[in-house]
């Protein structure tokens, strides 16, 4: 038939949007029994949360595989990304003091040792910066061409006091939404570098561990939900938060911090910064009364000077995100795989 697709994994499935979520739910979640975790696999949160015996707090576990092209890029490299990604996922659950990280390497035969060395060096530095010791690991080598240079899996564990974890689904009406800095830097910078696009202005990945920044925010007030807007960007994170909590989110588009370089590169390429990855930013829901205090604390942190309140949680249009563009409202949808124009 002309109107049917054969089901294969496509790159769109890996783009971090709804297609990937559906695939995971269908293939994995339905098959794995994960007991009575406080935050189970089925929540598709940044990590899982399980109570430890004897009231010894809750265990937070997260895991992430990292592949990136190029492996060394402006503002970071795959090693820094591998540590930051997992540290940040722990932090997004409220576990800002990681107990241990693992490091599992898969390397392509023929890769210069020096390359691996530089990556390990960077991982070491970042783990120190984040206060996240790497305590175990594994290495595999695959044939030339079976993998592109290097892939790194990291798993992280942390502990939070029982019940004090921060789920994606924690938003409630009235909460303010804060983003901790400029949006779109990693995605736009990496793409430009990979494809050899030349832009005026400084484009640089924002890859960094944000656990200290998150700890600062959580000390300053009640943080109700958090996500790090990686693949799929801020648009995807906001949509996930809205649908998991079954609330509406209203965002003031003009309040979203975006650097001049990212904005103009995005314009030339027709790419919306809200839809691309960040690797050192957080979007968080904060109780309304605490919003100013939390914002001030974030802005006082070296990683948070561009932080801004960008919107709030409303009871209407549950599960959806409304963008006030200054010329009217429109829905902010999450990019599904490759973005296709909708307008006629």
């Amino acid at each position: 038939m002309s109107d049917t697709d054969e089901e294969v994994i496509t790159e769109a499935h890996g783009a971090g949007g709804g297609q990937m979520r559906e695939l995971i739910e269908e293939l994995a979640v339905s098959r794995f029994e994960d007991g009575a975790a406080d935050v189970p696999l089925a929540a598709l949160d940044d990590g899982s949360v399980q109570r430890l015996a004897n009231g010894g707090g809750s265990l937070v576990v997260t895991t992430d595989s990292h592949v990136v092209k190029p492996q060394f890029f402006r503002g970071g490299d795959i090693g820094r990304l591998a540590v930051s990604g997992t540290v940040n996922d722990l932090a997004m659950m409220g576990a800002t003091e990681p107990i241990a990280l693992t490091c599992s390497l898969i390397v392509e035969a023929g890769t210069p040792v020096e390359t691996v060395e530089r990556v390990m060096e960077s991982m070491g530095e970042t783990s120190e910066e984040a206060g996240a010791p790497i305590t175990t690991g594994d290495t595999k080598v695959m044939g030339s061409g079976d993998i592109d240079t290097i892939a790194i899996n990291t798993t992280g564990v942390g502990v939070v006091p029982q019940g004090s974890h921060v789920p994606d689904a924690g938003l409630s009406t009235g909460d303010k939404l804060i983003v901790t800095g400029t949006i779109g830097d990693h995605g736009i910078s990496l793409l430009s570098e990979r494809e050899g696009f030349d832009f005026e202005g400084d484009l640089e990945s924002d890859v960094a561990p944000v656990n200290d920044l998150v700890a600062t925010a959580m000390d300053a007030g009640e943080v109700t939900a958090m996500k790090d807007p990686t693949r799929g960007g801020l648009a995807t994170s906001l949509n996930e938060m809205a649908s998991k909590a079954e609330v509406g989110i209203e965002i003031d588009e003009t309040a979203i911090p975006i650097s001049g370089a990212v904005a103009s590169a995005g314009e030339v390429l027709g790419i919306e910064p809200l839809n691309v990855a960040n690797e050192g930013k957080v979007v968080m829901g904060v109780e309304s009364d605490d919003a100013d205090a939390v914002l001030a604390a974030i802005q006082a942190h070296p990683q948070g000077e561009d932080a801004a309140i960008v919107g709030e949680v409303v009871a209407d249009h549950a599960g959806r995100v409304i963008l006030d563009t200054g010329f009217g409202n429109r829905y902010l949808s999450e990019p599904e795989g490759e973005q296709l124009p909708r307008i006629c």
Binding site: M1, S2, D3, T4, D5, A12, G18, Q19, L191, E195, G196, F197, D198, F199, E200, E267, V268, L269, G270, I271, D316, H317, R320, I322, F327, G328, N329, R330, Y331, S333, P335, E336, G337, E338, Q339, L340, P341, R342, I343, C344
Partner: protein, 775 residues
């Protein structure tokens, strides 16, 4: 004295809810006949007549020659019998009881008789704007639920006075059972407010005062039948410019209303068919060829050779033209992205910053209904919007057939499952089926904001309630990002509807054309702006071997890229980065056309194409025309849907095609028109020809190319008909060219007249496909 006769008459067609029984009563009494009339359960009317044979015959003639404006008499069955001595004529309650009717009529213009009443100084309706009768006035926009009876309309807020009640109960009166009957004593009233809602004047004085404002150059919101308009003096470019600035519509054409056909002819040319459309009781906006000598038209309809015109349809409009000469701009009162305002609060909240005054009334608008818009292309009336005046009248739901083209045996069970179709996302309408009928909704708009989405869901609920429909299946577009697709999933989850059945966009366009022509199969050219293709690319220049349940993509335009995705839709010069091959020429054009400031950024856009970064592949005819528009410097920045291609058409209208062969190629074994080769050829000869001729050439070559591909496919596959659908079918020159070539090839031609070729027709197409697939 002539001999007496008795006749039993059965009438079918559109004869209920359109004032048919009072018409029968008046005609019978006028001919001195006894007997009775009643509605039958199957939407017909049954009549007994007794009296002089001549009178009976004259009655039967008038059934055909003079029915009420909205009625459509299909069959009249007469059986003669023996007189039984019946002298009185009466209207008998229908078997389902009550005076209410089971069908909902659309809104129509004030009829001539009511207009006369309003003009007659001795009439109690003199000067009263809300005068209506059984033949005219608001219907769909005021009805809350069935049966159609005063208490179920928004007229229930206005209890009839004694005079109105008397006419309402008098069978010989034109207002007998006219549910919207009202007079100055008991009916809705007008007032003029300032932008803050303070009352400036009331009733008759309100109209005069509003007209004073309009004459002085103010912008005035006017609450009408299905919603509010923004009005101003169309002949004052400074005022029109102010309206553009305040509503953020720098270029969008505004419709104008002129008092009568003579004044229309002063600024536009009107064919006979266009005159009929303008004066039709449904009163659509008709896109006419503008008269280039009128300097004010450029401000109303910038860069276009057409102007949208309508004649007054509400009493209110007629009264306005007692005080202003006109024409007036009358454009839907809404801010971009939001549906038209329908309440006084809505007008003041949304448009308080736009207008200086608002002329409002206190009759609630139950259902918003935008003006319908038609354009004659290739001599056929094409709906740009099928809305006020037509909605909620059904179109036939073509019975399901299989792809071999044979009717499936009737299953013997009841009707096929009822379908709710949500259409595409932009210019959306929805459609619901009930048995053999499809009810397309009014125009809803671009469903990308909370306001339009709730308009969509309200419309679905209202139609379900009015028509008593409980759909079994939901259908939608295949575009995964459309909000209507997501909404379809919600309907499926929440209401337990089967589906969603996702229908490919151009298959839906083609199916709507098949349905309109009650055809099972044809080769169909579906040419439009954007539709999601199952291969993940953007289709829009497709030649399909279309059946109701499925299709083969047999040819069309060759693919090209849209560098920047949506940005290339907004700035079509970007597309030239793919279509042209000389890097310096591309960089010059991208800077010249304002896409980028620096040549280095233009180089990045070229690199973006080479690297296939955010450069989706398309076969869209709309985008190809947009690219030519940008190439020729006609329009490089799209501020409203279709703008670059529409302006290209207007430029082309002043030129003649240059003789140029169609560049052809083959794509994955399919016949294709090579868009890039065409654009490169046009660019090469750009200095030797007038821009008007180059524009005409682009259209002619694309049209000829698509026609040839379709004709060859029809020949190969032994299909005897070729059709044309999609938004490009509004283009007169392209429509004509394709039609002509198809006719020359001896094939049957299918064009749209009853359903919009644009995305407003998608929902009905989805219904057709879903119906076929349900069998």
């Amino acid at each position: 004295m002539s001999d007496r006769a008795r006749a039993s008459v059965t009438v079918t067609g559109v004869v209920q809810g359109v004032g048919f029984r009072p018409f029968v009563y008046r005609t019978a009494v006028g001919n001195d006949l006894g007997g009775w009339v009643k509605n039958t359960g199957d939407a017909g009317v049954e009549i007994r007549l007794e009296g002089g044979r001549e009178g009976v015959e004259s009655f039967l003639d008038r059934l055909h020659t003079d029915p009420p404006p909205l009625a459509r008499v299909e069959t009249v069955d007469v059986t003669w019998g023996e007189p039984v001595g019946e002298r009185e004529f009466e209207i008998v309650a229908s078997s389902d009881g009550g005076g209410g009717s089971g069908t909902i009529p659309p809104d129509t213009a004030m009829c001539d008789a009511c207009l006369e009443d309003m003009r007659d100084p001795d009439s109690r309706y003199h000067g009263y704007w809300a005068t209506s009768c059984v033949d005219c006035g608001p219907r769909y926009t005021v009805i809350r639920s069935l049966p159609y009876d005063r208490p179920t309309t928004s007229m229930d807020a206005f209890p009839m006075c004694e005079d109105c009640r008397a006419e309402y109960e008098e069978p010989a009166d034109r207002r007998y059972h006219a549910q919207t009957i009202a007079c100055p004593n008991c009916g809705p009233s007008l007032e003029l407010l300032d932008a803050d809602g303070n009352r400036l004047a009331g009733d008759e004085r309100a109209i005069e005062a509003a007209c004073d404002r309009l004459t002085e150059g103010d912008l005035v919101a006017i609450k009408g039948i299905g919603g509010a308009h923004l009005a101003c003096d169309a002949t004052d470019p400074a005022v029109v410019e102010r309206l553009r600035e305040r509503t953020g519509r720098p270029e969008k054409p505004f419709a104008v209303m002129a008092p009568d056909i003579e004044s229309v002819e002063a600024f536009a040319s009107v064919t006979t068919a266009e005159r009929d459309a303008l004066t039709d009781t449904r009163r659509p906006i008709v896109l006419l060829e503008a008269d280039g000598d009128q300097p004010w038209l450029e401000a109303v309809s910038p860069g276009l050779h057409t102007v949208g015109v309508m004649l007054p349809y509400a009493g209110l409009h007629h009264l306005l033209f007692d005080h202003v000469e006109g024409p007036l701009v009358m454009t839907s009162a809404n801010m971009p992205g939001a549906p038209m305002a329908t309440t006084t609060e809505g007008i003041l909240d949304d448009l308080g910053g736009v207008v200086e005054a608002a002329l409002v009334h206190d009759r609630e608008i139950v259902a918003r209904c935008d003006d319908s818009v038609v354009r004659f292309a290739d001599g056929q009336r094409r709906f740009v919007r099928r809305s006020r005046g037509w909605v909620p009248q059904p179109v036939p739901r073509w019975p399901a057939v299989d792809s071999a083209g044979t009717d499936l045996p009737d299953s013997g069970s009841a009707d096929p499952p009822d379908v709710l179709a949500l259409g595409a996302e932009f210019d959306a309408t929805v459609a619901l089926t009930h048995g053999e009928h499809v009810y397309p909704s009014q125009y809803i708009g671009d469903v990308d904001s909370p306001e339009t989405l709730s308009y969509l869901t309200e419309t679905v609920e209202h139609l379900q309630e009015l028509l008593g429909i409980d759909p079994d299946v939901v259908a939608c577009d295949r575009h995964p990002d459309f909000l209507t697709t997501e909404q379809a999933e919600r309907y499926a989850d929440r209401d337990g509807l089967a589906g969603p059945i996702a229908v490919q966009h151009h298959h839906a366009h083609a199916a709507s054309l098949l349905a309109e022509h009650e055809r099972q199969r044809a080769i169909i050219v579906a040419a439009d702006g954007t539709g999601y293709g199952p291969d993940g690319t953007i289709w829009g220049g497709e030649v399909l071997d279309a059946r109701l349940d499925d299709y083969d993509r047999v040819g069309g335009l060759a693919p090209f890229r849209l560098p920047g995705g949506s940005a290339a839709v907004e700035s079509p010069a970007r597309i030239l980065a793919d279509l042209l091959d000389d890097p310096d020429r591309i960089d010059d054009l991208l800077v010249e056309r304002g896409v980028v400031d620096r040549p280095s950024d233009a180089a990045t856009i070229r690199a973006q194409v080479d690297r296939e970064v955010n450069s989706p592949v398309t076969t869209s005819t709309g985008r190809a025309l947009d690219a030519v528009s940008a190439l020729l410097g006609v329009c490089s920045e799209r501020t409203y849907e279709g703008e670059p291609a529409m302006k290209l058409e207007s430029v082309a209208a002043g030129g003649d095609p240059i003789d140029m062969p169609v560049p052809r190629t083959t794509v994955e074994g399919r016949r294709a028109v090579d868009v890039a080769a065409l654009v490169r050829r046009l660019d090469k000869i750009r200095d030797d020809h007038a821009r008007t001729d180059l524009a005409a050439t682009a259209q002619a070559v694309l049209a000829r190319g698509l026609a040839d591909v379709a004709i060859e496919a029809a020949t190969d596959r032994g299909v005897d008909a070729v059709g044309f659908t999609g938004g490009v079918a509004y283009n007169d020159a392209i429509s004509r060219a394709i039609h002509e070539r198809v006719a020359d090839a001896g094939l049957a031609w299918l064009g749209h007249e009853r359903l919009p070729p644009g995305d407003g027709g998608i929902a009905v197409g989805q219904v057709a496909v879903a119906t076929a697939r349900q069998r």
